[in-house]
């Protein structure tokens, strides 16, 4: 490691006012884009790439990384305040963030999310600086069978996020695993379960409209029903006094373990091409719950859950940069666009970059650190404003959410059928809510189902139909064992939690 070069690169980035300004602007824009359902960090980065053509490389990378990191945190704002993940990566944040808001702890949840995002992001950025070539080699070892087992391991989290009834969690999961096969099969091109003229479903159920329907629209439906019946809304008693913009020392102590674990889980999963922030947040949540002293608090509004999810999805941004820079392989959809931005500036990311353009590599690391810092500042400045969102009169807020949601569903593909789909999913989500079937397993399976299926079939195709032979591959075995442990342990935890709840009632 060339310390002199590292320091000089960091110094030149962190003192360049132009870079700082661009990164800050990016972070501020990213937080807003991320907070609006339907607008994702991916989209923000894609729209900004043409603008960055005229700029120097480092300021433009700073701008794009600012959007990336800001967007990752921004998604949690609407997840916590409105029960709507602003981006898919924030889907796991809803699990505990929304109950915290219902308990009147919205400012606390936002502060925890921001702090965890920042720490996760820093862990990712530091791992990237020091461990990048090492992790990059590990990422190459992930072929179809390893990806399949990773997806299975991710799916084992379903029990953790099922809430009280495992069976209902499984019903939701199988429902998700079935509908994720709708559309054109990614391995053979065969069209499954949809009419052949439903072109908008060819690439599968569009994820963002489904997410908007299941969470935002379903929530508005439920609230409408409650208000029409004259029930007093629970969020009316919300305490929105913001005493502090950073979490209290007590909270930091509580979440420290989750944040560190989440940061590393996020970095590692982010480094695997094809697995991104959404998966890492769920995995981190599951692991945190299994290792927590109070697993029964998860899902009822514990800062630990929010911290686990948010630190992982931000750690992911550092992780995803590792294969991008050292292998020239994008780790997720945002880095796929970033790679284009590098190429346009005449730089091809890849192993040679560490040999020939080390100064640029270090400058990118520095820009990522800076982006996380900017995100923290934007978050601190904005937190008082964000919280005001839930003080808006429900008569105004709920219809507004409805309209913004539908626009969000339209924007992603600019297709009116997606809006219809969001409404259908809104009704499904409403019905699921009513029967206490958890929604998060559907999201998780929509992400992991296709990954599991296509990688399994890809492997079997390469191995000439012999699926069992995947158990001769060490990484595959490790993930299989992890999946089994995680399954058994979370079933045990669920039993224990249910028992704990029953005992005082009987006494």
């Amino acid at each position: 490691m060339d310390w002199g070069l590292l320091l000089s690169s960091y110094g030149s980035v962190l003192t360049d006012i132009n870079v700082i300004l661009m990164t800050f602007l990016g972070a501020a824009g990213g937080v807003i884009i991320g907070a609006i359902p339907g607008l994702t960090a991916t989209m923000g980065v894609a729209l900004l790439v043409p603008f960055s053509f005229g700029m120097d490389l480092i300021p433009s990378i700073g701008l794009l990384l600012g959007v990336y990191c800001g967007g990752m945190y921004g998604g949690s704002i609407s997840a916590i305040l409105l029960h709507t993940p602003g981006t898919p990566s924030a889907a796991a944040t809803v699990l505990d963030g929304w109950p915290m808001t219902q308990k009147g702890e919205a400012p606390r949840a936002l502060a925890v999310a921001m702090f965890a995002s920042f720490c996760g992001g820093m862990i990712g950025a530091l791992c990237m600086t020091f461990l990048s070539p090492l992790i990059a080699q590990a990422a190459l070892a992930f072929g179809p069978s390893e990806m399949f087992m990773l997806a299975v391991f991710g799916l084992s989290v379903i029990i953790s996020i099922s809430g009280k009834s495992i069976v209902k969690g499984l019903i939701a999961a199988f429902f998700g695993l079935i509908i994720c096969t709708f559309g054109m099969d990614k391995t053979s091109g065969y069209i499954r379960f949809i009419p052949t003229n439903a072109h908008f479903l060819y690439e599968g159920i569009p994820f963002i409209p489904a997410l908007i329907g299941l969470f935002a629209i379903a929530e508005v439906f439920s609230s409408l029903e409650g208000i029409a019946r004259g029930e007093k809304s629970s969020a009316g008693a919300v305490n929105v006094k913001v005493d502090r913009v950073l979490p209290s020392f007590k909270d930091i102590k509580l979440i420290a373990k989750n944040v560190i674990m989440g940061g590393f889980i996020g970095t590692f999963i982010g480094a695997i091409p094809g697995a991104g922030g959404d998966i890492s947040a769920f995995v981190s949540y599951g692991v945190s719950k299994s290792t927590s002293k109070h697993p029964e608090e998860f899902g009822k509004g514990t800062p630990e859950g929010v911290a686990a999810a948010e630190s992982a999805n931000n750690g992911c941004s550092g992780g995803a940069m590792i294969p991008l820079l050292s292998l020239g392989i994008p780790g997720d959809s945002v880095t796929a666009i970033l790679i284009g931005a590098f190429v346009m500036n005449g730089i091809t990311p890849g192993p040679m970059m560490y040999v020939e353009k080390l100064d640029i590599v270090y400058a990118v690391f520095a820009a990522l650190l800076l982006a996380n810092l900017c995100m923290l500042i934007v978050g601190c400045l904005g937190i008082r404003g964000f919280v005001k969102l839930i003080t808006i009169d429900k008569k105004i807020l709920l219809p507004s959410i409805m309209i913004v949601s539908l626009v969000g569903a339209y924007t992603i593909n600019q297709n009116i059928q997606d809006v219809g789909l969001a409404i259908v999913f809104g009704i499904i989500g409403y019905l699921f809510n009513k029967h206490e079937i958890p929604l998060s397993p559907i999201l998780l399976t929509l992400i992991l189902g296709p990954m599991a299926e296509s990688n399994l079939r890809r492997y079997v195709q390469i191995a000439d139909g012999n699926a069992i032979s995947m158990f001769t591959r060490p990484i595959t075995i490790i993930f299989a064992v992890l999946a089994i442990i995680s399954l058994i342990y979370s079933v045990y935890l669920n039993k224990k939690a249910n028992k704990k709840e029953e005992t005082p009632a009987e006494a």
């Binding site: 019903i171 429902f175 079935i178 053979s188």
Partner: protein
């Protein structure tokens, strides 16, 4: 105190009844998907076709919906009846794949458990011996070769 607990009880009954409907809807959806997968065209040169994954998941949905229904039924008589039916269906479905000598003893073991048998060792012994005798009787006396799946080699001995 009394009215409150009475009211709660009512609510509980309501959600339990609703759970049965959820289970029924889940089973219907799963069956529709299963039927649709059987209509898929056969693709050549593909070891695992496009029907594989959805049909497994549909089976999973049907199973978990069934479990939900069983869980929500309070009457022990009906509950056990449903469990027994599930055991028989599972046995039938896996019969040709795993073979009579694996499937039948397990099914019998579970059925005995359902009938309140307590001694696990005796349960295991009785189910194994009974099934083996049934198999031998059908093979040697009635000349019916029950499918044995991976244990088919027994017929060549």
């Amino acid at each position: 105190m009394l009215p409150i607990s009475f009211k709660e009880d009512n609510n509980l009954k309501k959600t339990i009844k609703a759970d049965v409907y959820v289970g029924i809807v889940g089973i219907i959806f799963g069956i529709v998907i299963l039927i649709m997968t059987t209509q898929f065209e056969e693709l050549v040169n593909v070891p695992i076709g496009p029907e594989f994954f959805p049909s497994i998941m549909a089976t999973g949905l049907i199973t978990s919906s069934y479990v939900l229904i069983v869980q929500s039924i309070e009457d022990k008589g009906k509950k056990f009846l449903l469990i027994a039916i599930a055991i028989l269906i599972a046995m039938t479905a896996s019969w040709e794949l795993l073979g009579f000598l694996i499937v039948a003893p397990i099914a019998m073991f579970l059925l005995m458990k359902l009938f309140n048998f307590e001694n696990y060792f005796r349960m295991a012994l009785i189910s194994l011996v009974t099934c083996a005798l049934v198999w031998l009787l059908f093979w040697k006396v009635l000349a019916v070769e029950l499918p044995l799946g991976p244990m088919d080699f027994l017929y060549t001995l």
